[in-house]
């Protein structure tokens, strides 16, 4: 116990000083490659956070030329205008497109309804895509698309069992996320059809 320490009180927790470091700067510099080369904040590219002196020589415009809007593009109502450049992948279509259009037109990003509608549209679209694929030469294949064979090729059992992983338990829920709604939907369809068949027989 040092001279200034009070009995029963840890030396460095409730007193002015932190414990001395286990290693000095010189020791760390000798042990860790590059230790301290960015110690001076002036050497850190993010300091200060906002800088006006960064060099982007390719910028030759105050406002970029606008990308042609070949079809109406949905946008957040928090934007004052359509930004000049945007992605054109997967334009809105079908029922999911209607839901997404509603989410964008009516609700700002601040509203949970905006995001929940978009999530709902994602699910509607994914299920519709599976059903539509059945009418194509390449229907959805849950084996290749889920990559489940990786369990065999990359030691699924050995990677989890006895490893003390925190995530191993909830991996069992993944098949429910992928197939649970289909199972529920199938069961509901079966019940409805069976009732219809019984009613017809009567």
């Amino acid at each position: 116990m040092s001279d200034h320490q009070v009995e029963g009180v840890p030396e460095y927790t409730y007193t002015p000083d932190k414990a001395p470091p286990a290693e000095t700067s010189e020791q760390l510099r000798a042990r860790i490659p590059g230790w301290g080369v960015d110690l001076d904040p002036a050497d850190r590219p993010q300091v200060p956070r906002e800088r006006r002196d960064l060099d982007l020589p390719g910028v030759r415009w105050r406002f970029p030329e606008r990308q042609p809007e070949l079809q109406p593009r949905e946008r957040s109502i928090e934007h004052g205008t359509l930004p000049p450049v945007y992605g054109t992948a997967q334009p809105l279509h079908g029922l999911s497109g209607t839901i997404r259009r509603l989410a964008y037109r009516r609700y700002s990003e601040a509203r949970a309804a905006h995001w929940l509608l978009l999530m709902a549209a994602d699910r509607v679209e994914a299920r519709g895509a599976v059903l539509r694929s059945l009418a194509t030469l390449r229907p959805d294949d849950p084996v290749t698309e889920t990559g489940i064979v990786a369990e065999l090729e990359h030691h699924g059992w050995r990677s989890r069992i006895g490893r003390g992983r925190a995530d191993a338990g909830h991996h069992a829920l993944d098949p429910l996320v992928v197939g649970g709604s289909w199972a529920l939907g199938g069961a509901a369809t079966f019940v409805v059809l069976r009732r219809a068949a019984r009613a017809r027989r009567r």
């Binding site: 860790i32 590219p45 390719g58 910028v59 990677s159 925190a166 338990g169 992928v178």
Partner: protein, 383 residues
């Protein structure tokens, strides 16, 4: 062309898609040679990011060869080998002119809170990504840079996000000499953040995860002290014990939306999608850092609300720094570090998959099989 496409939660496949075309005078089309799957791609794969459309091609970490340029492009020519930062940005808006490239206001109609990101849903602008043979690169004079002759292709891929984000995360910690820095998550970003913390003069770097392979990597690659949170009843109490009950000076959240450690939080966010992300790591950061300390957040979260403990953050007087990384802003200094040997990015690459095996690649990475840390996608016919 061949491209990875999303078919729904936990389902992806390779399809023939139309080759992207020039849609703006400053566009380029890049023939991809190497791409990577990022931990944040798993949020899309698991269906957590709103407005992730069927048919979307993921991939915001990629390098390749310029195949075509728009009429106003002056900085690149066909045949150039380029690395493309994960941010799409204009360089001229209020935010870009202040160095906030990841917050560009001119590239994402779908959300004002998010900039443009390749292959990261319509919430990030609706740009198809680089897990494909070709990709459209807007603002070709602004974002991409030539890959230096001396730089390995896989190192270049990691410059586009994982390495830049780890380095950025350490900077957001405002690390001072001999600070104690805790990094939550030993994935690629966490490993690079831990390694970068030493460059900024940390006195002690502690990495927390639950995957032994990754903790081993944190010890050997990042010279870190490591703890497996599964082996401790309460990781926050452990953090206090090993820091004289004060807490760490800096805690970096390099986990994000699918954090484990609390089953209820994980299931309500990652499985039921009732939160924008599991706040477990962020709450550990808030509770594990010392009063007046700094929390750096570079783990990705969705736009919906999460159950974050802001009361503790307020009462402790914390500084919480966060952003998506303006990757290109990091490059000049990062290239110096890579060239000097202070950082060796592709040391974290553990697996390489051909594009055709994209389903297996996503599953293996999602389920963390075989000690996977960073998977690279090798595109067929790559030069």
């Amino acid at each position: 062309m061949k491209a990875m496409v999303y078919r729904g939660p936990y389902r992806v496949r390779v399809e023939e898609k139309a080759r992207p075309r020039i849609e703006h005078p400053n566009d380029a089309i890049v023939r991809v040679t190497r791409a990577a799957i990022c931990g944040s791609d798993l949020h899309l794969y698991h269906g957590m990011m709103p407005d992730t459309r069927v048919g979307h091609t993921f991939g915001h970490e990629f390098v390749g060869i310029v195949d075509e340029v728009g009429p106003s492009v002056q900085e690149l020519t066909v045949g150039d080998k380029v690395m493309v930062p994960f941010n799409v940005f204009c360089g001229s808006c209020y935010f870009c002119t202040r160095g906030l490239y990841s917050n560009c206001h001119n590239v994402n109609p779908n959300a004002t809170a998010v900039g443009g990101i390749y292959g990261y849903s319509h919430t990030a602008g609706g740009y198809d990504g680089g897990q494909a043979e070709y990709v459209r690169v807007p603002f070709a004079d602004v974002g991409p840079s030539l890959v230096p002759d001396w730089l390995d292709d896989e190192d270049a891929v990691l410059m586009t996000d994982a390495l830049a984000t780890g380095y950025f995360g350490a900077q957001l910690g405002d690390i001072r000499e001999l600070d104690t820095v805790v990094v939550l998550g030993a994935g690629p970003v966490g490993l690079f953040a831990a390694k970068s913390a030493w460059l900024m003069g940390a006195g002690r770097v502690i990495v927390i995860d639950h995957l032994d392979d990754r903790l081993e990597k944190a010890r050997t690659f990042a010279h870190a002290e490591t703890y497996n949170f599964v082996e401790h009843r309460d990781i926050v109490v452990l953090l206090k014990r090993i820091t004289d009950h004060l807490g760490a000076d800096v805690v970096i959240d390099a986990v994000g939306a699918e954090a484990d450690g609390n089953l209820l939080m994980h299931v309500t966010s990652a499985k039921l999608k009732l939160q924008g992300g599991s706040p477990v790591a962020l709450n550990w950061a808030i509770d594990g850092v010392r009063k007046g300390g700094t929390v750096s957040v570079v783990g990705a979260y969705g736009p919906l609300f999460s159950a974050v403990k802001f009361g503790d953050a307020l009462n402790k007087g914390l500084t919480i720094n966060m952003n998506q990384t303006p990757a290109k802003r990091q490059w000049p200094r990062l290239l110096e570090h890579v060239r000097a040997g202070h950082l060796k990015p592709n040391d974290v690459v553990t697996h390489r998959f051909p594009l055709e095996e994209i389903g297996e690649a996503y599953h293996a990475f999602s389920a963390k099989l075989d000690g996977i840390i960073k998977p690279i996608i090798v595109v067929d016919g790559a030069a």
